[in-house]
């Protein structure tokens, strides 16, 4: 009865099945309202107060800061957490035992987290615009939206790799909690990376969102002082690192699955 598994069709279908599952789980659990709907309101208000009065483009800084904070949590943290949830529910074993490689399930879960992150970003935008009494001055709103989506893609790529850690060990959530703030600051989510000590920059550049966020600020804030190499090298760096993350994810998941089958830790929670 099974179709030829391992085909692009079956993998795509598994990804959409995982996306649908994520939506169902989201709708079924009211606790998700807090990170996806309420937290962005708070982030927007705090960020507005934090950046108020800092130059002409303070509204853009406020929106990017709070928007990234909200989306970072939803997209990146949520992607790993979804796998952690599978471990907790005991659904990781039957999912791994299904013929579809688990990577394609993770992609579906991440896809929902991207959508959820975008909703958070939109809420932040509306909150900041409401308290400021008007929208920010954007040189090119269409380019801003495109780059915003691009940043989400880079976050999702990191989210896929983070999810593998949740398959690898039940302690992934603990490790992610420790690294959360460092990652958030280190990739320039709240403020530009160039404000950080120089020695931290090479570490930041390992992560695709660092490049993409810098490019987004170059585009959205005239006169922005980011990395010296400018907008296009930022885009090239983001594309290269994102591609590398996605390319490595397949082999990474395969190795992680092999490791947990050897260690027998798939059912630990």
């Amino acid at each position: 009865m099974s179709v030829a598994l391992g085909t692009a069709y079956s993998r795509r279908r598994s990804t959409f099945a995982a996306l649908r599952l994520s939506v169902l789980l989201f709708m079924a659990d009211p606790q998700w309202l807090i990170p996806s709907m309420i937290a962005p309101v708070i982030f927007g208000l705090v960020s507005f107060e934090l950046f108020r009065g800092y130059g002409t483009y303070y509204l853009t800084y406020a929106i990017l800061g709070a928007g990234m904070m909200s989306m970072w949590g939803q997209t990146l943290y949520g992607s790993g957490w979804a796998t952690g949830q599978d471990r907790e529910f005991g659904t990781l074993e039957p999912t791994i035992q299904a013929p579809t490689p688990y990577l394609y399930v993770v992609l579906g879960r991440v896809l929902w987290n991207v959508v959820s992150g975008l909703i958070g970003g939109a809420i932040v935008y509306l909150v900041v615009v409401a308290v400021a009494g008007g929208p920010p001055a954007l040189p090119d709103p269409a380019a801003f939206v495109v780059l915003f989506l691009f940043v989400m893609l880079t976050l999702a790529a990191v989210g896929v790799v983070f999810a593998a850690f949740y398959v690898y060990t039940r302690y992934a959530g603990f490790i992610q909690n420790i690294g959360e703030f460092a990652f958030y600051i280190g990739t320039g989510c709240m403020f530009p990376v160039v404000f950080l000590p120089f020695w931290t920059n090479p570490i930041s550049l390992i992560f695709p969102p660092t490049w993409a966020l810098d490019a987004l600020r170059f585009e959205a804030i005239p006169g922005y002082q980011g990395f010296s190499w400018g907008f296009w090298p930022d885009i090239a760096g983001a594309v290269a690192t994102t591609t590398a993350y996605l390319a490595l994810a397949g082999s990474f998941f395969h190795r992680v699955e092999r490791h947990v089958l050897e260690e027998g830790t798939l059912s630990d929670y």
Binding site: M1, A28, T91, E93, Q97, A98, R258, E263, G264
Partner: protein
């Protein structure tokens, strides 16, 4: 000859060992090694139910997980449907079903139907057939009436049946059932056993682990007993009765028997095994009897100092066989 999925035994294992390592401590890491399986050799024929019995910690779930590709053996080879569980998972997974059961393993906040729909997609059941197939399996496990209720509202028995529905959704050739009736009420357990029998009638090979002797006796034409990671016996129930020394068991109870009396019982014709155990304030002796030569009357005559002896002469049960083999292995 090319081996296809319809040739050869359903399961064949040679020298399967599985060692678990755990680590404790932070600065001074202490490693503990547990050998869960110590060289398991098994052959399971196709199209029947094969039972695996064993006490807690014997290695039943470990073996089930190895055979269902969820765990790698430390040593040895395991072929399922003629394919290596270590190297050919992509070929095997669509053809095998696994039911680990219990309260976990399901998405409790969504409906039973949505749980099945998700796994139907992961197993690649064609879209045109998917919803029809889900209806079929829900009816088969008697959950059609509750299909759209959240799983968190299900009773333990209903969850177990949903696990089963997921296990058979993609029409597997082989189904692994790990203690499928554990924790079920008698009615649900009976229905589950009925369902298992009907799956065999459909040609599915079933590998079943259980603690319940009557269940194994009722369902499994052939079985193996696993104790401390080793297969201590494997055969039909009748052959196992012979293995442990007879298909008759005589149990006697009284307030104490001395060594001389017990030795006297051992010398009775056809008696192959005598074991004593405390039973409240009394002592119970269990005699395994190979022939009809020794009757209850002979036993009474051998124990003249016990005129009020409580005696029971019955057929050796699988539980007797199991207890004898597991006790012998442990000692």
């Amino acid at each position: 000859m090319v081996l296809t999925s319809s040739d050869g035994p359903a399961i064949e294992t040679h020298g399967i060992r599985r060692v678990f390592e755990s680590r404790k401590g932070f600065l001074f890491r202490e490693r503990t090694r547990t050998e869960a399986l110590r060289g398991v050799d098994l052959t399971v024929e196709r199209g029947a139910i094969f039972g695996l019995l064993g006490p807690n910690g014997a290695g039943k779930t470990t073996l089930t997980k190895i055979l269902s590709t969820l765990l790698l053996p430390t040593e040895g080879t395991a072929l399922v449907l003629g394919h290596d569980v270590r190297k050919e998972t992509a070929w095997l997974r669509p053809r095998m079903g696994l039911v680990l059961g219990g309260e976990r393993g399901l998405y409790n906040r969504i409906s039973g139907r949505d749980n099945l729909r998700y796994f139907a997609d992961l197993f690649g059941i064609p879209l045109a057939e998917r919803d029809k197939r889900i209806r079929e399996v829900l009816e088969r496990v008697d959950l059609a009436h509750a299909a759209d209720r959240r799983v968190e509202e299900f009773s333990r028995g209903m969850k177990q049946r949903l696990h089963l529905a997921r296990g058979i959704l993609h029409r597997p050739e082989i189904l692994f059932l790990d203690e499928p009736t554990m924790g079920l009420d008698p009615k649900s357990a009976r229905e589950t056993r009925k369902l298992i029998r009907s799956l065999v009638a459909d040609g599915v090979t079933i590998f079943l682990t259980t603690h319940y002797m009557f269940e194994a006796e009722e369902l499994c034409p052939r079985l193996a007993i696993l104790s401390e990671g080793r297969v201590v016996a494997r055969d039909t129930v009748d052959a196992l009765r012979t293995l442990v020394g007879g298909d008759r068991t005589i149990e006697i109870e009284d307030y104490g028997f001395d060594d001389y009396e017990i030795e006297g019982l051992r010398r009775l014709p056809g008696v192959s095994y005598v074991v004593s155990e405390e039973f409240g304030p009394r002592l119970r002796l269990t005699l395994r009897v190979r022939t009809l030569e020794t009757t209850a009357e002979h036993v009474r005559q051998a124990l003249p100092a016990h005129p009020d002896l409580a005696l029971r002469d019955r057929r050796t049960s699988l539980e007797d066989v199991y207890l004898q083999l597991v006790t012998e292995e442990a000692s």
